[in-house]
């Protein structure tokens, strides 16, 4: 794979940066595409709107479209973009640390841990305590998901740690734990009441249906804190691609740097999953798509995040409109959309 990067040096006094032009260009272009897709998402739906109606709906509180734009379509689209960005960023970090393009938050036990916890919660509380199910649907599920994701990650991290953390062992332990969690999840689904498990299934597939500002805010807050921190860690992450002895000899506190970056990846994935369920494939494919488009040696963090937002937003647009009025869970579309594109990029690189 060609990794020749055209980089320009930017120097101001004692400050200096190295900008990889292609990565910057792809990031800016991706943001433009994202804006376009978001705008389309505002217009298209059960009630089609013109651009003028969308603008009126956004800024004029008395407009009939105000509720549809500001309470239904915008929060949903923002949740999708933010969740996609968080998942992609998480995937980019994990793939760099595991030195493995197949690694994703699923490997860290986050998404599978969240799934088990949510299904357990839904099955346990559903029809037996009918009264709590309403509360569970609005408040409980994100909290359960967050808790399950963090527990899952702690289990994987604890089992993989042995006088340090080895990327290869992390992937193997992660796959094993994910298999166990997945089977526990299926077992819970078989013992649960049919109505409860049907609700749980929608969440497991990853859905943006009915997402409001209460889903936008936690994800936005998490990204606002974690994105700058991970970008500060980019250089350590870049060094971590080498074997541990090399990394340490270059003056990186190897285990600390790796632990902090994994913690950031876990939090990003856990928050995203809490908002929208385990949306498949975004965390796996976005960093690899970004890496190939930017032609860099490792998944570029910011560029991956933007690609993740684009992929999820495009998938949601299709999920809402393709089989209208029937709506697909977005997680199904991300896989159908992302996989062929990634295969295309890999296939083109082989030639």
């Amino acid at each position: 794979m060609p990794t020749s990067e055209i980089a320009v040096s930017l120097r101001v006094g004692t400050l200096s940066w190295r900008l990889r032009l292609r990565g910057v260009a792809i990031t800016v272009f991706g943001l433009a595409v994202l804006a376009l897709l978001m705008a389309l998402n505002m217009r298209i739906g059960d009630i089609e709107m013109t651009v003028a109606e969308v603008i009126a709906g956004t800024f004029d509180q008395n407009s009939p479209a105000h509720f549809i734009i500001m309470e239904l379509r915008l929060p949903r689209a923002l949740t999708g973009a933010l969740v996609g960005a968080a998942l992609a960023l998480s995937g980019a970090i994990i793939q760099s640390i595991a030195r493995n393009p197949l690694a994703s938050p699923e490997i860290l036990g986050v998404t599978t841990g969240a799934s088990v916890m949510v299904v357990a919660g839904v099955v346990a509380s559903g029809s037996v305590y009918g009264g709590t199910s309403g509360l569970l649907a609005t408040l409980g599920i994100p909290a359960l998901s967050l808790l399950g994701g963090l527990i899952g990650a702690a289990v994987v991290y604890g089992l993989a740690w042995r006088r340090g953390l080895d990327g290869y062992r992390l992937v193997l332990v992660g796959i094993g734990v994910a298999a166990v969690f997945t089977n526990v999840k299926f077992w819970l689904l078989t013992v649960g009441d049919v109505n409860d498990t049907a609700r749980a299934m929608v969440w497991i597939s990853g859905s943006l249906n009915g997402r409001g500002w209460e889903h936008v805010m936690p994800t936005a807050l998490a990204l606002a804190v974690l994105v700058p921190l991970t970008l500060l860690g980019t250089r350590s992450l870049d060094a971590l691609r080498f074997s541990d002895d090399t990394v340490t000899s270059l003056g990186v506190r190897t285990n600390l740097a790796r632990a902090l970056m994994i913690l950031a990846a876990v939090l990003l994935a856990a928050v995203a999953t809490a908002s929208a369920g385990p949306i498949a494939f975004v965390a796996l494919a976005s960093p690899q798509i970004a890496l190939r488009l930017a032609r860099s040696g490792q998944p570029p963090l910011l560029c991956s995040a933007v690609i993740g937002g684009v992929l999820t937003t495009a998938a949601d647009l299709i999920a809402r409109t393709a089989f209208s009025p029937l709506e697909l869970p977005v997680g199904i579309v991300t896989a159908v959309l992302g996989a062929p594109y990634l295969i295309h990029l890999i296939w083109r690189a082989r030639k």
């Binding site: 200096s16 270059l250 506190r253």
Partner: protein
């Protein structure tokens, strides 16, 4: 006046978990010398080198760098004084020589100073010194073993340290490339006054390119001294369990080991 000691291991106990490889070892590395550690497989040579380069924390005793405990100095500060080239290092796929060598600047960089003119100059100088300037844009995987090893040494040079620890820098290389790498090490030492500690397997090359030899067996230092003092027929028997004849190297005048047979137990 005794020469300045840059690295000092005192009564170190080294191992991995419960498996102790080195126990109660003392060794000092003097400024401006090439020290080469020799010994049979599994004697703890690489373990000792990793401890000297703070890649392995001693379970007992201490390692001093310029008189200070190396584990008390921030690892980034250590990286500005001491460069380590681990055994058979691996690089990410597709990385170019220039990218690899640029990585050596890591300890000198921060998020707001990512690529200063100092960095650029040090990388260019390191590529020049190792004769890789023409190959700078080539991916590492396309180079020969000798060129690749020179690229790794070049990275350690770009780090700008005057202490270099090299763990078997000639492994997997044919004889011509082994000599090529060791000539580079000698050049670094003679022209730039760097202090070098390395682990080598080939006794004859070790004798030719080292000021001081350290012979180890079972985690203990058996002998330290000039190649003439260390490489004796008696010591080869004791350390390597090898019957051998030691003659004078007709080219360099250093001891030349001619093996006869392994000693039977």
């Amino acid at each position: 006046m005794s020469p300045e000691v840059r690295l000092q291991a005192t009564d170190v106990k080294l191992g991995y978990g419960d498996r102790i490889v080195v126990d109660g070892l003392d060794l000092g590395v003097e400024a401006g010398t090439v020290t080469t550690i020799i010994g049979p497989n599994g004697c703890g040579k690489s373990t000792l080198l990793r401890a000297l380069g703070r890649l392995l924390k001693p379970q007992g005793g201490e390692v001093l760098l310029d008189g200070k405990r190396i584990d008390k100095i921030p690892t980034r500060e250590v990286a500005k004084i001491l460069g380590v080239l681990p055994q058979a290092p691996t690089a990410p796929e597709g990385l170019t020589v220039a990218d690899l060598v640029a990585r050596g600047r890591h300890p000198h960089q921060t998020w707001y100073r990512q690529w200063s003119s100092d960095d650029e100059g040090a990388v260019a100088a390191a590529l020049d010194m190792t004769g890789l300037a023409d190959l700078a844009e080539r991916p590492l995987d396309e180079l020969s073993g000798g060129q690749r090893q020179r690229a790794w040494i070049s990275m350690a040079l770009a780090q700008g340290t005057d202490l270099l620890l090299l763990d078997e820098p000639t492994t997997f290389l044919d004889l011509a490339h082994q000599v090529e790498v060791l000539e580079l090490v000698r050049h670094l030492h003679q022209e730039a006054g760097r202090t070098v500690v390395m682990v080598l397997h080939d006794l004859n090359l070790a004798a030719r390119y080292a000021d001081r030899l350290v012979a180890m067996r079972s985690g203990k230092v058996i002998a330290v001294g000039s190649p003439h003092e260390v490489l004796t027929e008696e010591l080869l028997g004791e350390v390597f369990e090898l019957d051998a004849k030691v003659i004078e190297d007709p080219v360099a005048g250093t001891p030349l080991v001619v093996p006869i047979r392994p000693r039977s137990h």
